[in-house]
């Protein structure tokens, strides 16, 4: 089993619904976020393009945050989900430094590192992550890459895609449909 997400940049309007839904689902404190929107503008007027995309932890196969964690708090759970065990985290921030996607922050009230969990509490029950289920444009696709009929497998089948910072060698599991 390998959980992954595909983000359709042709449809994302950058509304930020995924960010608020994550905030309310996971009690993310205000001023912080586990997912966010990136807008890339290229070209010059009137030959301009925009790419909008919803980003979060890439749940990498070769996760530098896991490798560099001195306590073993950062770990890879079933299905490849990268998680932090709060009780084992000392808040040293090594993982934050090592992450090429800037996907982690120190929780202001509790002092440990917090990040996207792919909404494991929902996924374990067969639901989608909150961001996927709220997206008004249906631009987020989630599921098991080992299952050819999963939403994410189907989304990747007929479209070109890219990953972010492939040069970092992290084997990221967020796929951006282009």
């Amino acid at each position: 089993m390998r959980y992954a997400m595909a983000i359709d940049t042709a449809k994302c309007v950058g509304c930020g619904d995924c960010v608020v839904a994550c905030q309310t689902e996971n009690n993310v404190p205000h001023g912080y976020c586990r997912d966010w929107i990136v807008e890339n503008v290229s070209g010059s007027y009137p030959n301009v393009q925009i790419e909008l995309r919803s980003e979060r932890c890439n749940h990498c196969d070769n996760a530098p945050c896991v490798r560099c964690c001195p306590t073993g708090s950062s770990h890879i759970a079933e299905g490849g989900i990268v998680l932090v065990t709060p009780e084992e985290c000392i808040g040293c921030g090594a993982c934050i430094e090592s992450c090429p996607y800037d996907a982690r922050y120190v929780h202001p009230d509790f002092g440990y590192v917090d990040k996207c969990t792919f909404c494991k509490h929902r996924v374990d029950k067969g639901q989608n992550p909150a961001c996927v289920d709220v997206c008004p444009t249906h631009c987020l696709h989630f599921g098991d890459l080992d299952d050819p009929n999963s939403d994410v497998s189907k989304a990747l089948k007929n479209r070109d895609w890219k990953v972010l910072a492939p040069e970092a060698g992290t084997k990221p599991q967020l796929y951006f449909l282009i």
Partner: protein, 750 residues
């Protein structure tokens, strides 16, 4: 000059001050979950209560999830709701912030004057506040007649007060939603098709093959089901054509983006019409069977070639031809989107008419993938006596002007409030419900004149919006998550109703709008119009008439009813009588001609920016609804301030870099209250700047939004009035940059 109505910025003076201690902004904006586990609560451990959203007018239905401790945790869309399809937009998801916002109005306030003449708000009891409002209403009715008590309203809270005012005997009401928003569209489509474009719009974007957006920025305006359908249209491979001086989000997803010179849209539309007619691409069968005035139209656009339009719009003739052919190729499955906020240049009814005519030429009306026949359900009126007949209404205030207006015009009600304008019918007092007038209306000077002239202002709101600073009595309303409200019965592909019920008790001393209206009504002896103890009785009665009940609706939230008006689309060759004077689609409008207006749309050049000035274009961001959400902790988090978009060429000229702060000054010398950050971007034309509307709040009681970004309304002092229906065109304003804080700048009240 000191005015009688001193704008009160502080919350209360002396004991019982309203402001709670505020923590630092942006970090831990509020403490909802502090010192608690951050573990997520599973849905099964929560109770969902049905609601429909009040963060914007789309009114998406959803579920408010409440945990075992009674805390509201999240709001999720209702899967059976055609407005949301189970997915709320960021504002709906963040609607929770409206409930938790610690800046909310907490208890009634009454304006008092100190011996030294200065004014302040005193915390009052509900009885005091309600007695005061009712007392004033009695006094005004005795002195001038109830008609002199005006109402500015919007949305559901406004509707409870509309009921109160009609029972009291006044129909002197206006909503910014008409003359400051979609009025020209209503009038144009009615005069062409004899039918209105409803809300939600009856656009069949889901099944369209070609979506044409003229300044309409779906995806930035987060009209939920429309955004969802645009996404479906992209999946289906539909062509999107966007006309916008700015590369909007929608433009970035379009096959064709026409980066038009602002204010020239009518020329483009006429050229499209020219191409369709003279290349014989229009739907001949449809035009022959259903329309009136084709020959006049053909003659009218004879010389309006793409080459003619090129000189005006800066859009290449070949691109005009190619896009017209693309539309014709997709016809009749084409949506020429009628837009929503369409008061731009004062000839807006005519531009909307051109869009309606284009629609008709393509046969893109009543067909799959064009405009469908929407249907809503009629919710029976709860038993009450007939409303009294007022001696005069908003219509009489307009007098002979704006004959085609279908609702009251805000500017007219304001003018009627100032004796020096000599209106026959004078407004002496206002009720304001659910609309933040100073940030919704252009022409601050007129607004302040009017606010100063009237004898009394009562404001109902959930937040200390700028308008409350002008009030004599402030009535704190409970948020939509804490109250019963009208059943939602908006038209759609299938008729539905949606229930809004409280998921928690009203916080502080706030009260539901229906309760406030009823309490005032009771004090005025209007009990028979408010013959219930709780609004749930009204809803239950109505639901029973519709064959359901409050009990059932609490479980399902949304209920669908079968269509009764016939199919969604017009059949092939089906006979159809349009509700116009000719019974046909009026390409040539007899209604407009009879009232002395151009029966066919004409392009009129509009003033261009003087040197060193740029046209101000404003619009929406997906996470905010005008000025009402900018203090919402969840939505503030997504977008705390607006910025001014400047083309890199212009930024170079001024030596401006991304993030630089500037003050804006317009052609009449108006200056923004606060600096605004520059966003240097290729997404905007060099002759224009762009701002998201709703920022630059000048009221410290909005602890997050205060002073964040700049207000576009302050820059809108030139209003171009639409002679047809009184719309206030706001895009004829030009701004320049001030790199230093202007000296001697007095803080202008927003």
């Amino acid at each position: 000059m000191k005015t009688r109505r001193e704008f009160i910025k502080i919350s209360t003076a002396g004991a019982g001050a309203a402001a709670l201690g505020l923590h630092s902004l942006n970090v831990k904006g509020f403490d909802l979950f502090k010192n608690e586990s951050i573990e997520s609560v599973s849905d099964e451990d929560m109770t969902p209560y049905p609601t429909y959203c009040e963060v914007c007018f789309w009114k998406c239905a959803g579920w408010t999830y409440v945990d075992k401790k009674g805390k509201i945790r999240k709001i999720i869309g209702n899967k059976h709701d055609p407005h949301s399809n189970g997915r709320l937009c960021p504002r709906g998801t963040g609607g929770i912030g409206m409930y938790y916002d610690e800046d909310r109005l907490k208890y009634p306030l009454i304006r008092e004057t100190k011996p030294d003449g200065s004014q302040y708000f005193r915390r009052a009891t509900w009885d005091e506040a309600l007695d005061k409002v009712a007392g004033k209403m009695k006094e005004i009715a005795e002195k001038y007649g109830p008609e002199s008590f005006g109402l500015f309203n919007h949305g559901n809270p406004g509707a409870h007060f509309e009921h109160l005012m009609r029972a009291y005997g006044s129909e002197s009401n206006a909503e910014p939603a008409f003359a400051n928003c979609r009025g020209p569209r209503s009038v144009a489509y009615f005069s062409t098709f004899g039918a209105y474009i409803g809300s939600p719009e009856n656009t069949d974007i889901r099944d369209t093959r070609c979506l044409v957006l003229i300044g309409s920025h779906i995806g930035e305006n987060m009209h939920n089901s429309q955004v969802q359908e645009m996404s479906q249209a992209i999946d289906n491979g539909a062509t999107i054509i966007t006309v916008d001086p700015r590369l909007s989000t929608a433009a970035s997803k379009s096959k064709y983006w026409l980066p038009i010179k602002p204010s020239t849209d009518i020329a483009l539309l006429l050229a499209w019409i020219h191409v369709l007619i003279y290349e014989e691409l229009y739907n001949k069968k449809f035009v022959e069977k259903y329309t009136f005035g084709f020959d006049q139209l053909k003659e009218h656009v004879k010389d309006m070639t793409p080459e003619w339009a090129y000189g005006i719009t800066t859009i290449e003739p070949e691109l005009i031809r190619r896009t017209a052919r693309e539309m014709a190729g997709a016809a009749p499955h084409v949506v020429i989107h009628p837009g929503r906020h369409v008061v731009w240049y004062g000839d807006d009814t005519q531009r909307e008419r051109a869009m309606a005519i284009l629609t008709a030429l393509l046969g893109a009306w009543g067909k799959r993938g064009s405009l469908y026949f929407s249907e809503g359900i009629h919710v029976p009126h709860y038993p009450q006596p007939e409303y009294p007949e007022p001696k005069w209404t908003w219509k009489d205030i307009h007098g002979d002007k704006y004959k085609l207006a279908t609702m009251g015009i805000t500017t007219e009600i304001l003018k009627a409030s100032v004796p020096k304008y000599g209106y026959k019918h004078q407004i002496k007092a206002w009720l304001v419900a659910g609309t933040n007038l100073p940030l919704s209306l252009p022409d601050k000077k007129l607004f302040k004149e009017a606010a100063d002239a009237v004898e009394f202002i009562a404001v109902m709101d959930t937040m200390p919006m700028d308008i409350t600073g002008y009030a004599d009595v402030v009535l704190p309303e409970a948020t939509y998550l804490e109250r019963y409200d009208f059943l939602r019965a908006a038209p759609n592909r299938v008729p539905t109703i949606a229930l809004r019920m409280p998921a928690a008790k009203p916080k502080y001393e706030s009260k539901p709008g229906w309760w406030i209206a009823k309490q005032i009504g009771e004090r005025l002896g209007l009990h028979d119009y408010f013959n219930y103890d709780d609004y749930s009785e009204v809803i239950d009665w109505q639901l029973k008439q519709l064959g359901t009940s409050l009990e059932e609706m609490k479980k399902i939230g949304v209920k669908e009813f079968p269509r009764e008006s016939g199919p969604l689309y017009l059949g092939d060759d089906e006979d159809f009588e349009f509700n116009t004077s000719t019974g046909k689609i009026e390409l040539y409008s007899l209604d407009l001609a009879d009232n002395g207006f151009d029966p066919l749309p004409v392009y009129t050049p509009h003033p261009e920016p003087p040197e060193g000035f740029y046209r101000l274009i404003y619009g929406r961001a997906p996470m905010h609804t005008f000025s009402r959400t900018t203090n919402n902790p969840n939505l503030y988090d997504l977008m705390p301030e607006n910025n001014v978009w400047v083309n890199p060429k212009i930024a170079d000229l001024w030596g401006l870099k991304n993030g630089d702060e500037v003050w804006l000054k317009n052609q009449d010398g108006a200056v923004t209250n606060f600096p605004v950050k520059v966003r240097v971007t290729e997404r905007i034309r060099w002759d224009s700047v762009y701002m998201v509307h709703g920022f630059g709040h000048n009221d410290k009681r909005l602890s997050r939004a205060y002073g964040k970004g700049a207000s576009d309304e302050l820059m809108i002092t030139n209003i171009m009035i639409d002679p047809v229906m009184g719309g206030a065109g706001m895009r004829g304003n030009f701004i320049t940059f001030l790199k230093e804080k202007p000296e001697n700048k007095e803080e202008v009240e927003s």
